[in-house]
Every structure is written in C-alpha cells, then in structure tokens.
Symmetry: C2
Subunit: 387 residues, 2 copies
Amino acid sequence: MLNFEFKNPTKILFGKGEIAKISNEIPKDAKILMIYGGGSIKKNGVYDQVKEALKDHDLHEFGGVPANPEYEVLVNALNFIKENKINYLLAVGGGSVIDGVKFLSAAANYEGEPWEILKKPVRTFEGEGMPFGTILTLPATGSEMNSGYVISRRETNEKLSSGGPGLFPQFSVLDPEVIRSIPKNQIANGIADAYTHVLEQYMTAPSSADLQERIAESILISLQNAAPKVMSDEFDYDAAGNFMWCCTMALNGLIQKGVITDWAVHAMGHELTAYYGIDHARTLAVVAPSHYRYNFDAKKGKLAQYAERVWGITEGSTEEKAEQAIVKLEEFFHSLQIQTKLSDYTQDFAGTAERVEKAFTERNWLGLGENKNLTPQDAFKIVEMSY
Amino acid sequence: MLNFEFKNPTKILFGKGEIAKISNEIPKDAKILMIYGGGSIKKNGVYDQVKEALKDHDLHEFGGVPANPEYEVLVNALNFIKENKINYLLAVGGGSVIDGVKFLSAAANYEGEPWEILKKPVRTFEGEGMPFGTILTLPATGSEMNSGYVISRRETNEKLSSGGPGLFPQFSVLDPEVIRSIPKNQIANGIADAYTHVLEQYMTAPSSADLQERIAESILISLQNAAPKVMSDEFDYDAAGNFMWCCTMALNGLIQKGVITDWAVHAMGHELTAYYGIDHARTLAVVAPSHYRYNFDAKKGKLAQYAERVWGITEGSTEEKAEQAIVKLEEFFHSLQIQTKLSDYTQDFAGTAERVEKAFTERNWLGLGENKNLTPQDAFKIVEMSY
C-alpha cells in the first residue's frame, strides 16, 4: 500500500427533510449568497425549502450558472459577492453549480486576477476559501464532498481544474427526494459518471490495498443494484438514497488512498465533450471500454478481479474473465440507455483521433494512465478504437 | 436508509516514515505534552522518532497510562497540563492512551470537577477540547479516528464512556511498521476487536443501506485476509497496513450511518472484563456467538447474508446459512487462538449470568440490542449460553 494522507472535513446531512437544518450550519450573522443554475430548484421545491430554512438569515441570490460552469458568469457572481460584502456561499445544484461555488470561494479570498488561480498547477490553492455549504440536487460528480473543481472559459476555449485543502464544503445536504424530479437521462449520466469515477481509481495494475479495492467494488455493485430502480418511473426512496451516497463516496477521496489512479478516460472524454458537446458521462462510456481493451495486458488482472467480484464471473482464464468484464461494462452502460461508440453520438467523427493526438501533443504532456506512460499516439489509437 | 449526519475531520497520515511529518501538523509555538503508556514505545523506535520529529518544539512527557485508562492517573496528567500551561496533546500508544488523551482534551477545557464530564449522559461534551494528535502503536479500537472514549475509575468501580464533536484527533499517524513488535496475542485481540466493531454495526435486522452493508462486509473480509499474515512470524508490510486501516475504518463512523446498530455484545463483554479481567476483545468473542444464537430469528437474515457474502456459503436455506455463519465466526476467532467460551478463561464462572442480570437491573436500563428490547433477563440467558 502506498503512503497517503486523508482528510475530509465536510459534514454530510443525509436524508429527507435535512435541508431544514442548514440554518444551524450557517452563522446567524452571515451574509449569504445562494447560487444556483437554470431554475429547476424552483420547480422541485428545493428553492422554497432553502428560503424557509434561512428566513432569519440575510440571504441573497445569484441564479443562472450553466452546466460546465463558465468563468464569465462566475465573474459576475464574484463582483456581486464583493459589492455586497457576502461572506458565506451556498451552492444549490449539481456538480456544475458546486464547482462554480468552489471557484468563487477561492476567488473571493484571492488578491489579483481570478483566472490566475486556475492557471497555476492543478490543486494548488493553499489558502482558506470563503466558507460555503452545498445542497445537492443532482447526484453524479461527488463535488459535494471533495475540494476539487473544473471551470470553463469560453473566450479562450479552456477547461481547467483546481482545488485545495481549504475548499471543502463546510456541509452538504443530500436529500434523496430530489431524485424524484430529475430527468431519466440525467440520472443515467449520474450513474455512469460515478461508476467511471470508481473505475478510474480501481481499474489499474493490481495493488495491495485490499480494503480500498473492496470498497471500490462495493460502490460499483451498489450502483448496479440501484440503477434499474432509480431509472424506473416509480420513485424508490431507498434506491435513490443508495445511488446518492454512492456518488458521494465514489469521489470523496477514500478509495483513491494508498493506490495508483488512472484518469485517462476522463482526459480523453473531455476532448469529446469539447468537440461534439456530448454529455460528460457519455464520453466516459465511449472511451472506457476502448481504453481497457488497448491496455489489456496491464489491466487484465484487475479486470478479471472486477469480473469475479463485481459480476460473479468465476469461469475461465484470467484473460477470458477480463474480456467478459469489458463486455459486462458495456452492457451496464447500455442498460442505462447510454451508448458506447462515438458513432452513436455523431456521424462527423472522422479525424477525432488525430485531433485528440494533436491536442495532447501541443499541451504540456505529462503522460496518461496510472503509470503516466501513455503517449498522444496511444490516445490516438484508443479514440480510434472507440469510433 | 435512516437519516444521518456524518463529519470526521481527522487527518490521517498513513505509511512508513510518516511520524516525521508531525512537526508540520503541530503549531511551532505549541507547548506539547506527549502521553504514552508502559514504555513499549521506547523499545520499538517510536519514541525516538517522535523526539526527532519534534526536536524544535517545546515537548514535555507523561508516561504510564495503563490499559483501561484510569481516572486517577489521568488526573495527575491533567494537573501537569495546567501547571505547565500545556496547549497541545500528543497521544502515542493504543486505544487506552488515545482514550485517555481525549478525556484530558475535554477536561483541560472544562471548568469544574473533571469526573462530571463523564457523569453526564453519554457523548455530550459539546465544547472544543484542547487540540491533540495521535500516533497509533496498536491497531484495534479505532479511537484514532473517532471522538469517543472510555475511562475507568478504580475507587468507585466505574467504567464510563463519553465523547463529542470537539474531540476528534486533529491528526493520526498510522505507520504499519509498528506492528513488527506487537505481541501476537495483542494482534489477535486487535483483529477480534475491530471485527466485532463491524459486527455490532452490521449484524442486526436487515437494512436498506446497501453501500454501508457492503463496506462493512469489505472490512470483515479484509480483516480475515490479513489475519493469518499479521499473525505469522514473518512481517508483511502490506498485510499490516490492511489490518491497520481496517481497524480505523471499522469505527470511524462511516459504516454506522443510515443503519441501526447493536452494541449488546460490548455491554455484556464489559461485565466479563470487570469480573474476571479477561481481555476486552476476548470477552466479545465469548458473547457474540451466544448473542447471535439467542437472537437468531431477528438476525437470521443478516447472518445468512454474512454467510453468503463474507464466507461464500451459497448452499442451504436462510436458517442453515445463518447457523453456518455463527460456526464460521467461532472458527475465525479460534484461528486467532481466541477461545469462545467463558469456561475457557475461568473455572469460576458459576453465577456470572445472575451477576450480569443483577448489574443490568440495578442500572438505569435502556434496553440492549438494535431495537433496545433486550432485558436483563435476556442478558442472563445469553451469558449463560456462553459458559
């Protein structure tokens, strides 16, 4: 097991009705800015619950943060924060809103041009951000219990990630009731996103971190169990709760401790979103199977373990089980109505592999995969396999 | 899934050599009291590593905290803290030393007679304790990543527990190298203690908290896998690391969230330690099988699930699998050279069940078990079954 440090101070308030408790989590004299996205919270009752819970607080609002939170919009929010001397932020939304609020938390306590925070090497914001809490309305990214975030800037076509130990939410409310009103395609995206988060921290060369691997497998199995129930038209509170908690646990740092991690699927997937606007989670479903086939020798031990422990496949050689594992993964994505080939999303895919290779070559290339030994040429082949 | 709140702010520093980092975790101007037990840390090198790491800090020492930390000894430490204006505590030891330091952390910031903290209802210390860190030398209790503790007072024959949100360690160092020098009977106790901690949070009526149950099962399997390796004479760093991390994860709050918990085995086991001085972990091994047999109908669903998922037993009815589960549990304790009958530890056991029943009857009885419906008479029968 590799040495590791782990600290996650976020307080989770989990369950039906927990939004009412946030008034105890935020100082009485705080000047709060509630930040949200496109307004779905006004339809599902969350907005009203927040207003009621904070009726004795000084509460301001900033709506309209888009998916893939954009710098331009966030700078408007930052100006509002500074002009109105806001000192507490409340994200009400999914991963995009929470990521945006993390950026604002850092930027509010940063002297100088806010974009500089993101241009520094990843995860180097060392200060304390402005305190903030979150109310999660779309389980997927895990942003509600970690300190990382991704921000896009349209004018320069950049999508940059950052984070830091002072950017954990002080609290996050996870009320499974919010899942009632989420469209099924977004639930499917959430499942696929969380599932792939686990795979990125698990589907590597074998490790000796037995407990972390088993917890990763537990999250995968639990997501699989919850999937058909949360995709069904009948609301199932317990399935919704398991799905929600799995998404959080998939990326709160726990399963990545003591092991090597991959994240190549995300790196290639981000390109597909940039070129074609394909939903983030769906790009992961396109890239992951090809990535595992291309790196079969390095990953076959873990693929076979996944086949055995997660899918109960006990027959066959290591190679046979590993091959079945990839088929099972594809079938799981298909069960969510998520397609796993680039050509399922666009007929305009010719040249994508070349474009990815070129983009990676032009950047400050650090290598992809758990051993950082994949080259832009490898990415070319993986993306080409995913057509 | 039940509603829950979860917050665990302890920073874990895991791995070989991590003790050297504690100088960065403690303020440079802190006046530190290092607290330890019988002196084994002077033989295994931990004492020297701490002295070296903190050579530029103002470091004081207080040794001699015994197993089942005693109030009388801790009051001496408390006087030292007040007289010398100590403002940071460092526990270097196992669960007893860490528990003692948590009491000191609370008492140092409490006006009035320190014993009052423990006489209040359990877990109600609401203030912030004096900041403290820990260096774990004996994996077992999980105290290094939670905020609870147990203190004994010889003069009144009391053993009381307390805790509170302000009593988490600021950091805990988990270096698996410490396991090299732990006597095998203490390693066995640590495995049995952590294993039973998981069972107390898992072996209840069925729940709908799928992920929590699977993580509990992961810890049980991982402890089983590590057990023969850490009990062997040849040191295995990875097995030691898995054992150590399992002990921490068994009682850091995660697997108890959203589920009902039992803790009847601990309540009855504590009595056996009080009467006969049997090691805490071994009393759990004595009581647990009888407890599960006595409450077979309520627990058979979970027992069968444990048989299937943890031991791979897929044949037979629910009842048959549940019965095999208890046998497997007994065999696991035996594999650690831990006996599971009271008569294996004392020939003087006659009247123990009566004594437990009387003791429970005389106390402010709240009921035992996950539904708090077990009476002192039930405890009589369970203890009698364990002769």
